[in-house]
């Protein structure tokens, strides 16, 4: 089939650098999500893979052959756009057959292929309808059918689910995953939704400010974020950060009055070895930051509860650390936890759940407990 190699891709729009020296290798049959906030360069990257944009520097290779000068139509890619780009002046059938007709396929063959794809996506009953009458959900399926029918080696999806309502988004997410596994094309999926990226992708490329931040399996992106940006971008509610200094086996944290946290003996050597500067940022995910007075892992840090969000399956507790009332901490507790607002509480932190970042470079220097 097809693997994709992006080698030091650069794209500028005027003075603005949209993608900067991006290198990415996507294996055959792999499902890769490009994840990042708006304007991070993810759609530009996608357009360079499809050929709609030409890179200013660097190469795009499919299966080893350079694609930079091959027009989009000859690259064997299927592209699904965020706004679906369904041709509203044609019927559903003609929409799906569009690409096949351009490829000058025989009429009977076209009919076979269209019927086949329509069956797979369960839109056979829509085939004779004008595409302008479709609901947004059906339009999404027609767009998918149109890009699938040409049997692309590479499937490019640009935020395909972001226009759908929440319920259908979950259904289509499962559907997409199933189709990709059945057909086995190499798939690149652009999204700003971390849940989509985490649940669908084999690997995730996290981008910010035109630069690739981390490229790894979802599990590693979550558990071993490479820097502060990735740690902060992935996870909901977002990770808690404590700024401070490290000296002689002790963290001195700015936001807390009793701001000392000592490192256990078994980890001290590792911290001493890997630390680069005194200024550090400690990270802990809300599900690992507990509130109350349990004996193990009491950190000696205190915070004031300011608001509570019961979500049903869990309860999110928002707190101000006692030394800095403008900072916010988040803790994800069991749903039967009933805190009092305004109450001062202890934070329970298990050392093995901590991430240690270097403040200056923003890079992860160490993950405790691994």
């Amino acid at each position: 089939m097809a693997n994709i190699v992006l080698d030091k891709l650069v794209k500028r729009f005027g003075k603005q650098v949209a993608v900067n020296e991006l290198s990415l290798e996507i294996k055959d049959r792999e499902f890769v999500a490009i994840l990042g906030p708006s304007g991070c360069g993810k759609t530009t990257t996608m357009n360079m893979i499809s050929g709609l944009l030409k890179p200013d520097a660097g190469t795009v290779r499919f299966d080893g052959s350079v694609m930079n000068n091959i027009p989009p139509g000859k690259r064997g890619v299927g592209f699904m756009f965020q706004n679906y780009a369904v041709f509203t002046y044609l019927s559903v059938y003609d929409n799906i057959a569009f690409g096949l007709r351009i490829r000058k396929m025989e009429t009977e063959q076209i009919d076979k292929e269209v019927q086949e794809v329509a069956r797979l996506l369960q839109i056979r009953h829509l085939l004779s309808m004008p595409a302008s009458n479709l609901s947004i959900n059906d339009m999404q399926k027609v767009a998918l059918a149109r890009s699938m029918v040409v049997k692309p080696q590479i499937f490019l999806l640009d935020e395909p689910l972001s226009n759908l309502d929440a319920a259908l988004r979950n259904v289509m997410r499962a559907e997409l995953k199933k189709i990709q596994q059945e057909l086995g094309q190499t798939t690149v999926y652009v999204t700003h939704d971390q849940v989509e990226a985490m649940s669908l992708a084999d690997r995730i490329a996290v981008m910010n400010f035109a630069v690739l931040q981390q490229y790894d399996a979802p599990h590693n992106i979550y558990n071993r974020p490479k820097n502060l940006f990735v740690a902060n971008f992935i996870g909901s509610p977002t990770i808690n950060f404590f700024e401070g200094r490290y000296r002689g086996g002790e963290f001195n944290l700015k936001d807390f009055s009793a701001g000392k946290m000592s490192v256990s003996k078994e980890n001290k050597k590792q911290v001493d070895d890997s630390i680069r500067g005194e200024d550090i940022v400690l990270g802990i995910r809300p599900e690992h930051l507990k509130v109350g007075s349990s004996r193990d892992g009491v950190s000696g840090l205190k915070a004031k509860i300011v608001s509570v969000e019961p979500l049903g399956s869990k309860t999110i507790v928002y707190m101000h650390p006692d030394g800095n009332p403008s900072a916010i901490l988040k803790s994800s507790m069991d749903s039967d936890f009933k805190p009092k607002i305004g109450e001062m509480t202890s934070l329970i932190i298990n050392e093995k759940n901590l991430y240690l970042f270097d403040k200056k470079s923003a890079d992860l220097v160490m993950r405790f407990g691994s």
Partner: protein, 284 residues
């Protein structure tokens, strides 16, 4: 908010009044065209609001070649054909150039400041440029020729065709062209297969609008033609006689014929024009 009754009544009469004000000249042309000589000369100071003895004599006077005594007999046929020829060719020039220019501007931001310079063409009065153009045309021997007039019509209406169609192309999402390109179309193929079918309503209405502009031009035709290629508006101005002065009856007859296409086309394209004239002010 529910309006008070007297406000509604007032509005109604205001609308009726304004409508009548605008429609009266049209009514006057149509009724005049069918009035016999004594009625349109208004001899004796009497005004005839309706044609009391409707007749086709005014039409006969300008179309029939049999009335050999009359200096205007049969003279209207040629100007009508002239008007059709130069308006259609002028429109074709403005549209062909305009479609491609508008697409380039809309999709590829082609031309830098050119689109605005085009718009500036409309900003100074035609009378300011028509004399130099007449001199140029005289040197090029294009005075009183169909191509001389058609070319200048195409140029003068180009800003309208470009800017109207640019708004229509802007309304078509770029992803539609891109989808076609990924499916294997060339850029120009995507334009003809996807963009043109979607913009055809807008293109047709732009063409009709440009046609109306060309059709109703007086100034340019007056200066750039003199005998063979005079158009309807110029010919109307020439309908005079030594005996009775302006020949209002035949003028109205020819004027009525000249007014029909703009009225019909105007109604046809009204919907698109309102949209196009906002020049992209409304974004979805």
């Amino acid at each position: 908010m529910e309006q008070k009754l007297y406000v509604k009544v007032l509005k109604f009469f205001l609308i009726v009044f304004v409508t009548m004000l605008f429609f009266f000249p049209i009514y006057w042309i149509f009724s005049m065209a069918f009035k016999p000589f004594p009625e349109w000369t208004a001899a004796g100071g009497k005004i005839y609001w309706f044609p009391n003895n409707p007749t086709f004599n005014n039409f006969r006077a300008i179309f029939s070649r049999k009335l050999e005594m009359s200096p205007i007999a049969g003279t209207a046929i040629r100007p009508i054909l002239n008007s059709l020829t130069v308006s259609i060719i002028g429109t074709a020039i403005a549209m062909v150039v305009g479609i491609f220019a508008a697409y380039g501007i809309s999709r590829y931001k082609a031309g830098g400041n050119l689109p605005f310079m085009l718009l500036q063409l409309r900003m100074f009065p035609p009378i300011a440029i028509i004399i130099p153009i007449m001199i140029m045309w005289a040197f090029l021997r294009m005075i009183d020729t169909w191509y001389g007039l058609a070319i200048i019509y195409g140029v003068v209406t180009l800003p309208f065709s470009v800017w109207l169609m640019k708004t229509f192309f802007d309304d078509i999402p770029k992803e539609l062209d891109e989808a076609a390109i990924v499916d294997g179309c060339s850029n120009i193929g995507a334009f003809f297969k996807v963009v043109m079918p979607l913009a055809k309503g807008g293109i047709a209405s732009s063409a009709l609008f440009v046609f109306i502009l060309n059709w109703s031009d007086f100034l340019i035709a007056l200066i750039l033609t003199d005998r063979r290629w005079t158009t309807i508006p110029v010919h109307i101005s020439k309908l005079q006689s030594a005996m009775v002065g302006a020949l209002y009856g035949p003028k109205a007859a020819l004027g009525m014929i000249a007014a029909v296409p703009p009225i019909v086309f105007g109604i046809l394209i009204q919907k698109y024009l309102v949209r196009g004239f906002t020049f992209g002010a409304i974004k979805k």
